[in-house]
């Protein structure tokens, strides 16, 4: 019987940022603000904590400041513990071997994995949005007797972006893993969640890195799929992978559907994030707000439609915000009009300015810009 206390969580923060550049200046993909008060990493991390995992290692990106500032001691996730809790695993700067890829980082942190007592490793990618209880996954892994279990979701519609596609037999036994850039309706796509014994995990890391491997996903998993018994487990709840500006925008708009909002946030298991003490939203006499999410600390005097307002956003009188994502502490002044726009933190749109993106191609205003 695998018990959850016997599982070590590892969150990988190595998502490529080339398709989401505008939002990753000074931050890694997993630290991008999401849904009004969260960061992408909160979803994988909260799912682990809610499942009962009490030892979580964070594989840090090269510039870890934003993620360190967000997670700090882990207290807001209840991971500031006397024993175990949150651990930071630095990325490896190895001058003699300047290769890229996350395998090197895993390899240089092998002593951490070996030092801790847990028998299993649950690896998750920090750029997926879901709220999941991993206990059922543990039972599945136990019952199939698999070496490795992958979690997938079924794609609906056509999706762009690098995905690990999983082909399985009826009982879930994985027959093939492949990397594709476009996937179609009904395809089984990996959610970046991998469960295996720690012994196998360290063996795979050591072996693939020492044989010149660079990427965990490609060299340790996809290329080695035939060597192990791999099973795939389906998560049928809401899932989204944020790996590009358009998937970020689309996923954000998904949260405006009450069913998605309920499923992600209002079920038995909460999503935790860094706590800030903000006042409830203040709606003034001239406010008109529809189909939107507003985080505490906002002051609204204008119109907001189909949009997400992060903490501390000000909307002036006569201002209109439509189909937009406005991050923390932006100031949209009187009479300004914003449509299909993503404003990063601390943006000021001065009075009467108009800003419009295309419906499927939002305009992005970078941090601290004044327009």
């Amino acid at each position: 019987m695998i018990i959850v206390k016997d599982v070590m969580g590892i969150i990988n923060l190595q998502e490529e940022s080339k398709f989401i550049r505008e939002l990753t200046e000074g931050r890694n993909v997993e630290s991008i603000p999401f849904a009004g008060r969260y960061r992408l990493i909160d979803f994988a991390l909260s799912s682990m904590v809610n499942s009962g995992i009490s030892n979580v290692g964070i594989m840090l990106p090269n510039n870890p400041r934003s993620v360190l500032d967000h997670l700090r001691s882990g207290k807001d996730w209840d991971l500031a513990r006397r024993h175990e809790g949150l651990f930071y695993l630095p990325s490896a700067e190895d001058e003699d071997n300047p290769v890229k890829g996350d395998l090197k980082n895993f390899y240089h942190n092998l002593d951490f994995f070996e030092h801790h007592g847990q028998q299993y490793v649950l690896l998750a990618n920090g750029s997926f949005i879901y709220n999941m209880d991993f206990n059922e996954l543990l039972r599945f892994h136990q019952n199939t007797g698999a070496d490795v279990t992958l979690v997938y979701h079924m794609v609906s519609g056509e999706q762009q972006g690098r995905s690990v596609v999983i082909e399985t037999a009826e009982n879930g036994l994985v027959e093939d893993l492949a990397i594709r850039n476009t996937v179609y309706d009904g395809t089984k796509v990996s959610m970046g969640i991998v469960l295996m014994s720690k012994r196998l995990f360290t063996e795979i890391i050591r072996d693939s890195y020492e044989h010149g491997g660079l990427s965990f996903e490609l060299d340790a998993l996809v290329r080695k799929a035939k060597d192990y018994t791999i099973y795939a487990y389906e998560h049928d709840g809401y899932t989204s992978h944020v790996d590009s500006t358009s998937s970020y925008y689309q996923t954000s708009m998904d949260v405006l559907q009450p069913e998605v909002w309920e499923e992600l946030f209002m079920g038995e298991n909460s999503i935790y994030t860094k706590v800030k003490d903000a006042v409830p939203v203040q709606y003034k006499g001239t406010s008109e707000v529809n189909n939107s999410l507003l985080a505490n600390g906002c002051v609204v005097r204008g119109k907001v439609n189909n949009s997400i307002l992060f903490r501390g956003v000000k909307v002036g009188e006569g201002a209109t915000i439509k189909n937009s994502i406005i991050m923390e502490k932006c100031d949209i002044q009187d009479g300004a009009l914003i449509e299909n726009v993503i404003c990063d933190k601390n943006v000021i749109i001065t009075k009467e300015k108009w800003l419009k993106g295309a419906p499927n191609y939002p305009l992005i205003v970078k941090k601290n810009v004044v327009i």
Partner: protein, 384 residues
């Protein structure tokens, strides 16, 4: 414990019987306020912001929810290695156990705790006022005046003065006379129930008072008059700003409504932030047909109907076509489709069924007690 300059003691044991249905299950300081806070957040945040990091909270009436809320004190950044929040309910001694028989007795019974903290000054606060105040200035004044005791006072309208404890002072602020609810007040400086005492001085009076069997063991009624009779150095410290006693339904409702002004009379964030224990809830969702004006709405709520001039706490559901006006809706309450709530305070976990009406009126706010269901067929719940 390390020596402390100023120890705060918050009197949080009162029942708050004038809040009626709202304090049936919880102590007054635990009553929700302002869309996410509880009343006790104000003195606690004031302490944290004033640099006072050792705070005793004296609890007695229905303390469980309050204890649970205070927890380690981390919400107010008061989980310190040396200091933090200390929860002080009555406890048993060799000769038996006593309830706290009054505000002075509550402090008296915790003299051991005060000795442990070893402060030069003791700041006594009550858990039923809404205000933001820097106690460090008051402490400075206390030291400058070489006072034995300093009492926080605020100017109240002359016609309201007979409802308060009134201080008559000389030009330097030294208190010459204290009158409890005078019919003909000589001044309009009301006591805010905030006291700073020099520790040894306080200890002496508390021990004397405990021996006096005729005493009601109350600061306002017994201790302060006794100190004045002894010609001790008692000074007033004038506070300017928003201060509201929320001990009654009307005043609690009014203080909530005060937050809804276009420019609220005091700030909850900014430099003097009010801290509170934050629930893990998402930004609130406003539906396609919702209409919201002049209101405060907190996280985790779902608003599909109309909300005007109201304060909505976390996790509240307001259904399609429901109307909520001039009201305070506390956490996790559901206002179902087409229900109407006007001039009311609806406590936590209530359910106002579809089509039901809860209608109070100005001056007669209706209260729905925690966990109640108001059904449509039962008719409407009227004022009173």
């Amino acid at each position: 414990m390390r020596k402390t300059e100023c120890l705060a003691m918050i009197l949080a044991g009162g029942q708050g019987s004038r809040l009626g249905a709202l304090t049936k299950k919880i102590a007054k300081p635990a009553v929700p306020f302002g869309g996410k806070y509880r009343i006790i957040d104000f003195p606690l945040s004031n302490c944290a912001n004033s640099g006072i990091d050792k705070v005793g909270v004296l609890t007695q009436y229905r303390p469980l929810e309050l204890h649970n809320y205070l927890a380690s004190g981390s919400a107010w950044d008061l989980d310190k290695k040396e200091g933090g929040v200390f929860i002080l309910p009555p406890y048993a001694r060799e000769k038996g156990a006593d309830w706290y028989r009054g505000t002075a007795d509550a402090i008296y019974q915790n003299l051991n705790f005060i000795d442990l903290a070893d402060p030069d000054y003791v700041l006594i606060l009550s858990g039923d006022h809404i205000y933001t105040m820097d106690y460090s200035w008051m402490l400075e004044a206390h030291k400058r005046n070489k006072a034995d005791a300093t009492i926080g006072v605020i100017e109240v309208p002359w016609d309201e003065a007979p409802r308060f404890g009134i201080m008559n002072t000389d030009k330097t602020g030294r208190i010459e006379e204290f009158e409890e609810k005078p019919a003909k007040p000589k001044s309009n400086l009301a006591s805010m129930g905030i006291y700073i005492f020099s520790k040894d001085f306080l200890e002496k009076y508390l021990i004397e008072d405990a021996r006096d069997e005729t005493s009601a063991h109350d600061f306002g009624k017994n201790i302060i008059p006794k100190m004045l009779a002894d010609k001790a150095r008692l000074f007033s410290y004038a506070f300017e700003g928003y201060w509201k006693d929320v001990g009654t339904i009307e005043s609690l409702w009014q203080a909530n409504m005060d937050l809804l002004q276009d420019k609220p009379p005091f700030e909850l964030d900014g430099d003097w932030r009010i801290y509170s224990s934050n629930p893990s809830m998402p930004p609130h969702y406003v539906g396609p047909e919702a209409q919201i004006k002049s209101s405060m709405i907190s996280e985790g709520s779902m608003i599909l109907g109309t909300v005007e001039n109201s304060v909505i706490f976390p996790g509240v559901r307001i259904g399609k076509g429901a109307h909520v006006m001039n009201s305070v809706i506390m956490p996790s309450t559901v206002i179902a489709e087409g229900a109407t709530v006007d001039y009311a305070i609806v406590a936590q976990n209530c359910r106002i069924e579809s089509g039901a009406q809860v209608a109070g009126e100005p001056g007669a706010i209706t209260v729905v007690a925690e966990g109640e269901t108001v059904a449509a067929e039962a008719g409407s719940k009227q004022a009173g």
